[in-house]
Every structure is written in structure tokens, then in C-alpha cells.
Subunit: 281 residues, 2 copies
């Protein structure tokens, strides 16, 4: 596995791969890798000749400076995991390398980002779209891999790819969970033992809500029940719990037959912000 630190080196590397007719995959990450990330890398290695994993804690997508500061950074441990998983190139740039000048351009994804993460983290998806565009241009991938735990992110990046005619395929993968149901997340490392013990309640709330949606309960009631279930454990502060159209991400008042809905939540637990979602098809 090669480790590259500069955009110029990555540009040159991927240009050569393209010229050699190789298929390239990109797995963009913020590091502190877990089994969810590694599953993306393994899938990418199955499908492509070259797998580039980027590890970059992107400052422009953090609206909360503490969240940025405390985000786990473990590049050596990450590197040790990536080789065996099938990573060919680890791209590990500095902030200065990714942003030689501050960005002027700002992305707006309209209704797609007026809800959930976009509504609660102002500027988040502008930062995501900016860094993903840069990585796409540096890596020239045929495929880019994303995890569905960030459901809204996948929707925004899909819109970016479509609206700007990026010549690549976006591959999204189901959320990988701990045995007790907690969605794998780099932020889980920051949970205390007490917080970790109650954390699976979020997925329980989602599973109960999914069952309620399937049984025909109205979204407003589903939302209310889920919020009450989470609030019963006082360690949680719920930021949002939404029943939304799985494509448009807009809240649904009544479930339309044939349209998938996604149940999405964000909650604070012992100073850590967690998100999760479940799709009902």
C-alpha cells in the first residue's frame, strides 16, 4: 500500500492508472476506521483494480469547533487496517494541501439540505460537496463508495454527481452495526462506558418506529412515540427524529404506497452527537 500526502502526487498517480486502463475506486473517509469503512474498502477491492482511501477530517464540514477538535484521529492504526482490506493507496493530505486558499464558492442543495443534518449543521453539506468534488477530481474514480449511515450525505453527493455530470458511479452500502444494534461510527470511540451501554436505544427506537410505520401508524404519531422512547433514558438529548421520503428527504405527513420512507435521527449522548437511520420500503 502506498501512502500519498499531496494532491500533485495523487493526480499523477491516478492519471497513470487511467492511462494504464485500470479501474479506480475511491473510499473517502475521515479516518478512525471501523468495520463499516473496511467493508466499503473490501467491496471496492472486489470491483476495481485500484482502491484509494482518503483520510481527511474536513474542517469545512464541521459547524461545531469542538466536534472538529475532538474527532478521533488515528492514522497509524488506520493504515494498519487498510492494507489487508485491499487498499492500494492511502491519501493522507493536510488541510493546507486540500485548501491552499479558502473557498469562495458555496453549494446550495435546496430542499435536500433544508432538513435534518443540513438544517442542524449549517454549512455542513457545502463542506461535504466541496471536499468530495476535490477528491473526485484528484482521484478520477470510476466508483466512489459511501455508507448509508449518512443517508442524507449519500443523497446530496448523488445530486452533486448528477447535476455536475461527474463521470463516476456512486456505490452506497448499508450501515454496519455492533451486535447490540448500535450503528458503527468513528464517534462511538468517544462514548463513556455508561453512554455506550445505553446507546443501542437509538436503534431500538428506529426499529420500533419502522414497525409502527409498516403497521400503518401516521408519521406524526411514529415520531412522537420514538421521541418518548428515547427521552425515557435521560442521558439522551434528541435533536431530531424525522419520517421522511427516502429520495427527497422531505418529511411525510402520510405514507404513500410504493414510496420508501427513511426514519432518521440525531441525538446527543454524553457530549457526543450520534446519527442513525432505517429505511422502510
Amino acid at each position: 500500500m502506498e501512502i500519498l500526502h499531496t494532491a500533485a502526487a495523487l493526480h499523477a498517480y491516478t492519471e497513470n492508472c487511467r492511462r494504464a486502463g485500470q479501474r479506480l475506486a475511491l473510499v473517502p473517509t475521515m479516518g478512525a476506521l471501523h468495520a463499516g469503512h473496511l467493508q466499503l474498502v473490501e467491496a471496492a477491492a472486489e470491483a476495481c483494480d485500484v482502491v484509494i482511501v482518503s483520510i481527511f477530517v474536513n474542517p469545512t464540514q464541521f459547524n461545531n469547533p469542538d466536534d472538529f477538535r475532538l474527532y478521533p484521529r488515528l492514522p497509524e492504526a488506520d493504515a494498519a487496517l487498510l492494507g489487508p482490506a485491499g487498499c492500494t493507496v492511502l491519501f493522507l493530505p493536510s488541510v493546507e494541501e486540500m485548501y491552499p486558499q479558502p473557498s469562495v464558492l458555496h453549494f446550495d442543495f435546496g430542499p435536500l439540505e433544508r432538513v435534518m443534518e443540513g438544517a442542524h449543521r449549517p454549512g455542513h453539506f457545502n463542506g461535504v460537496a466541496t471536499v468530495v468534488s476535490k477528491l473526485f477530481h484528484m482521484c478520477r474514480p470510476h466508483q466512489a463508495y459511501f455508507g448509508q449511515k449518512d443517508w442524507q450525505q449519500v443523497a446530496v453527493v448523488q445530486q452533486l454527481v448528477q447535476d455536475l455530470s461527474f463521470d463516476l458511479e456512486l456505490v452506497s452500502f448499508p450501515t454496519v452495526r455492533e451486535p447490540d444494534g448500535l450503528a458503527m461510527s468513528s464517534r462511538n470511540r468517544r462514548l463513556s462506558a455508561e453512554a455506550r451501554a445505553v446507546a443501542p436505544r437509538l436503534y431500538e427506537a428506529l426499529e420500533q418506529a419502522a414497525a409502527a410505520v409498516r403497521s400503518g401508524l401516521a408519521p406524526a404519531q411514529v415520531q412522537q412515540q420514538a421521541a418518548a422512547y428515547i427521552a425515557a433514558e435521560p442521558a439522551f438529548t434528541l435533536e431530531y427524529f424525522e419520517v421522511a421520503d427516502a429520495q427527497t428527504l422531505q418529511p411525510v405527513a402520510t405514507r404513500e404506497p410504493g414510496r420508501a420512507v427513511v426514519l432518521c435521527l440525531a441525538a446527543h449522548l454524553g457530549g457526543v452527537r450520534l446519527i442513525d437511520n432505517v429505511v422502510v420500503r
Copy 2:
């Protein structure tokens, strides 16, 4: 010269060129070609192995439906000019080909587009940035050629390339003028004989203003004198005349030594909107 109509065909063509190690140039145009365009094509042919000229009257950059409807469209005449100038591929897509779905994403370039064309044509630079991004992704050029008559457009596209780390070089070319000084423009074809006869007054106003700036006259006075000179011919309605920093495009109150200024104007003449500019270094 090959003529391609679909994004898929262009994608495949340019991928092959890249694999063969050829250097690609893109000259994006809206057609109704004049000597200014052809100079870009000739320069591109000097520098690169493959020259792709796109002709696409991009609906998303027009805020005025009449301007879009009346924009000259002469694909056969254009095609006849392009081969001899060194064009390898003419890309002639339909609106449906470029926009299979309406765009959701919106670009905002901040202060760069709060002035001049951006201020007077709401949404214009979003449309420009969108279509240019699409063309960059379809053409995979090493170089992209733009004319300086659209000074603000060059600045916006430069910002786009920088902020999204597009791996290409932007080449901008000085405005080509008619013998009487009128800036070449596809819209000039729409001028009546009477309008055409007075049209050079715009460049005269710019040249006088440039001399006044060089002589140390304050920008506010320069602006006033230029507006008065243009208004002396009642066929003109001046939309703006700005003395701006050539890089930031923000209006300058006093000229700073060592910083180039650009004098930019837009004016209506016989139902046609014309723009022009002159740089003072």
C-alpha cells in the same frame, strides 16, 4: 472533424484520448462563431492534440427568455468554420442531453457575483458554473479556453477550478475587436445597421475612461464621464459602468498602485444587450 451529440459518446471519446496520452483542449461556446472564437480554437490547436469545441446555448445561464430565444443559432455555418481552425471534435448536445433532469444544486460565488453581470442577471453564473462543470467532466480537458470579453465569467470559472480542484489549466484570451473597435460578439448579428453604426461608442467610452484612470482621475468621476459620453447617443441605455479591481471585481473608490483595474460596462442598444471591458494595469 467529428461531430458528437451525446454525453456518452463524448465521455467515451475523451476517455480514449486520455488513455492514448493525448493532450485535450476544450473551447466552450454558444455558437454563432466569430473571429474571437476561432482565435481560441487556433490557440488550442497549437497547444493540444485534440480540440473539442462545444456549441450549446445554455438555457440555465439566461435570465431573460427573449435573450435566450433570440440568441443566434447557426450550427452549419459554425461547423464549416471550425474544421479549418483546428477543431477535432464538435460537441453539439441538445438541452435534454445536458440536463436529463433539472438541476437542484445551486452555486454561489459570493462577492464575485454580487456585482456587474451577476447583479444584473440573477442566476447567470450559477448556470455558467453548472454547464462548465458538466463540460469539464465530459471533455476531461488539460486546458480550457475562454475569452476575456466575459471578464467576470473568466474570474468565476477560475474560482470554480480553484475551489473544486479541477485538474486543468484555464487559458484566457484578449478580446478580439472589429476594425472600428466594437468587441466581437455573437449578439452583434442582431444589431440593425443604425445600431451597428453607433455601437463602437462603447469601446470609445472604455478607452477614454482607461486614459482618465491612467491620468489619475478618481473612479467616481471616470464613471460619470463615461456614462455621460454613452448617454450622448440616445440609442443606448447604459445598464452599468464599473471601475473594479481586476481580480476581486469589487468597485474601487481610489486606485491602488500596483493593482490592475478593469472597466466594465453593459448597455442595451436596439433591443440587444452588449458588454465590453478594458483592463488598466
